[in-house]
Symmetry: C2
Subunit: 193 residues, 2 copies
């Protein structure tokens, strides 16, 4: 997606340790008009007439997922992050390793808001190693629901996290900006699929 890639080139900051900051428009300050454009781009790759909900994980995915869900006329559900020793009943659970918090956390989702009849579009703003995404997929599978697509705004392609999602049978995957390499002043994107 040219608009998103241009924005990353212009405003993204590359920090030591392969950290790419896009917090001026994606995940701290959020440009909601760009989120709308991203939603419309996702609509080209997924059959949004056939979904019942958009699913994401807290916290930074929520803004994009809310704008997408509003555009697609379905509810948005976000999985919450809980400390693994503090989980109530009635929940789907999936353990992930959080690089942000440097520890194991558990994604939790109330069984009230996801069931086997749901057709789920999973959306996230940013993917590095794909752990949170795998956790979301596990939650949907635990519910016996159907994944109709996986959409990511920015993927750090050089960390390989997205590759395991590219060949899930029957599940289209789309990342709108796949970063192949990043040095200050030189961010290289993968060619469009």
């Amino acid at each position: 997606m040219q608009l998103l890639q241009d924005r990353i080139r212009k405003e993204g900051k590359v920090l030591p340790g392969n950290i790419i900051k896009v917090d001026g428009f994606l995940n701290h300050r959020v440009d909601t008009k760009l989120m709308e454009a991203i939603a419309d781009e996702f609509a080209k790759y997924f059959d949004i007439s056939d979904i019942t909900m958009v699913l994401t994980a807290e916290a930074s995915g929520i803004a994009l997922a809310a704008i997408c869900a509003n555009r697609f006329n379905v509810p948005m559900v976000f999985a919450k992050k809980a400390k693994s020793d503090n989980i109530e009943g009635g929940l789907y659970q999936s353990e992930i390793f959080s690089y942000t918090y440097k520890k194991k956390m558990t994604l939790i989702l109330s069984k009230e808001w996801l069931n086997k009849d749901d057709k789920v579009l999973i959306i996230d703003d940013f993917m590095a190693k794909g752990n949170a995404m795998q956790g979301l997929i596990d939650l949907v599978n635990e519910a016996g629901a159907t994944i109709k697509g996986i959409g990511v705004a920015v993927e750090k392609g050089f960390q390989g996290g997205g590759d395991r999602f590219r060949n899930i049978p029957g599940v289209p995957y789309k990342a709108l900006a796949v970063i192949e390499s990043a040095e200050p002043g030189n961010i290289v994107f993968r060619e469009e699929d």
Copy 2:
């Protein structure tokens, strides 16, 4: 706001300990069309032509704030919750007590995304004791920016948290559903101001 109060009456669950769950449409599964209606209602109480940003706190405020910001054509910024011992530089900080996590946390906000020229509309989905809201106000004051309004979707009026925000000189405050008392099957709202 009648639409919101009706929804709370119909779908809200009252649990022991004065807990009111509205997670079917507000803060776990999110009805984004209702969020749009809430945004339009806020627009009656605040001069949205004179704001530069919408500010909220992660995580559950993000969906409503994103929809509001999109409706008002300004960026949305969310303050992040950090453990108090893990704070970088270049940040505004405000210590709050989190009832969710039962410990002190620090709201942090990059100085890049809030400065003294900003005119801020603070939005949150749910207010009990008002600690997170006070933290957001402190961040804006620390930046020397101007608060143009404080909007809350659901306030637990009987916990008194909102009262301290009702008389800040020059800052309009509006909660769209103020719960005066809550027992299973009987949720009572405060009369409109």
